[in-house]
Subunit: 121 residues, 2 copies
DNA sequence: CCGTATCCTGTTGGATACTG
DNA sequence: CAGTATCCAACAGGATACGG
C-alpha cells in the first residue's frame, strides 16, 4: 500500500521500484559485500563500519523480505547466523558492480593514483 | 558533512555514493524521463504523477547540484524552464536502463502480456 | 553472537496556499 | 509556468541498554 499506488509514469516506475528495494543507507553496502559470499552478522557489522545493530538488522530483514538475501541460523551456542545473496539477489550483481564503477568514476573524489589515463583529457 | 564521514568499508562505499545521488523517491523517475531529452518543469511534474511542486523542485535542485541535470531558464513570459541530463548525467543512462530492466523483471508483478516466454519455465 | 527494546533526532516527503 | 512559503506527519536512522 506504500509502493506503486499513485504515479502515472508508465515506464519510469521500474527504476523507482528497483531503487526502493536496494535504497536506504546500508542495503547497497550489504548487498555489495555479500557478492563475495556468505557473511555472518558481525562480519557485515564490521564491514559496514558504523551502522548500529538495530539498523543493520532492519536492513537485513527488509532484504530478506524482498527475497534478495537469505538468512540461515545455525542452532549452536554461541549463535551463528549466515547471510547470503539468494538467486534473485545474485541477479543484482551486475547492477551493483555497475553502481560501484560509476561511483568510483563519478561520485568519489577518488584520485586515479595508479592509473594516469587523464592524459587523454 | 553528511556524506562519507564514517564508514570503514573500503570498496562498498562507491555503491553507497551512487545510491546517495540517485536515491530518494523521485530522482530515479526524473532521470529516467530525461533520457528521452529535454523536459519542462510541468512535463516532469505530470510524468512523475503525484509529486508536489515543492518536492519535485527540491529533487531537481539536488540533481543540478550533483551535476547530473542542467536547468535552463528562458526569460520569457510565461516562464519557460528546460531540464536536461548533463554529460555527466548521461553517463548514468546505462545504469538507469539496467535498473529499469531489473525492475521490470524482478521488482514488478508485470504480467508479460505480449510475450509468452514463460513457456520456458 | 545475534539480536530486541526504548527512546530520540533529523530528514524526507507531503498538503496547501500564494507569487513573479 | 514555474516556482516559494508555511506547516506538518511519517519514517529512517542512531544511541544506549539489555537478553537468549
Amino acid at each position: 500500500m506504500s509502493r506503486f499506488d499513485h504515479y502515472d509514469c508508465s515506464l519510469g516506475c521500474p527504476v523507482e521500484a528497483t531503487l526502493e528495494l536496494i535504497g536506504g543507507k546500508w542495503k547497497g553496502v550489504v548487498l555489495y559485500h555479500l557478492i563475495d559470499g556468505t557473511m555472518r552478522f558481525n562480519e557485515l557489522h564490521r564491514a559496514a563500519g558504523t551502522v548500529t545493530q538495530r539498523v543493520l538488522t532492519k536492513a537485513l530483514r527488509e532484504l530478506e523480505a524482498a527475497g534478495l538475501v537469505s538468512r540461515t541460523v545455525h542452532p549452536v551456542v554461541p549463535p551463528h547466523v549466515d547471510y547470503a545473496l539468494t538467486e534473485k539477489g545474485r541477479t543484482l550483481v551486475p547492477l551493483l558492480l555497475a553502481m560501484r564503477d560509476w561511483g568510483l568514476e563519478h561520485a568519489l573524489p577518488a584520485p586515479p593514483s595508479t592509473l594516469n589515463e587523464n592524459i587523454l583529457a
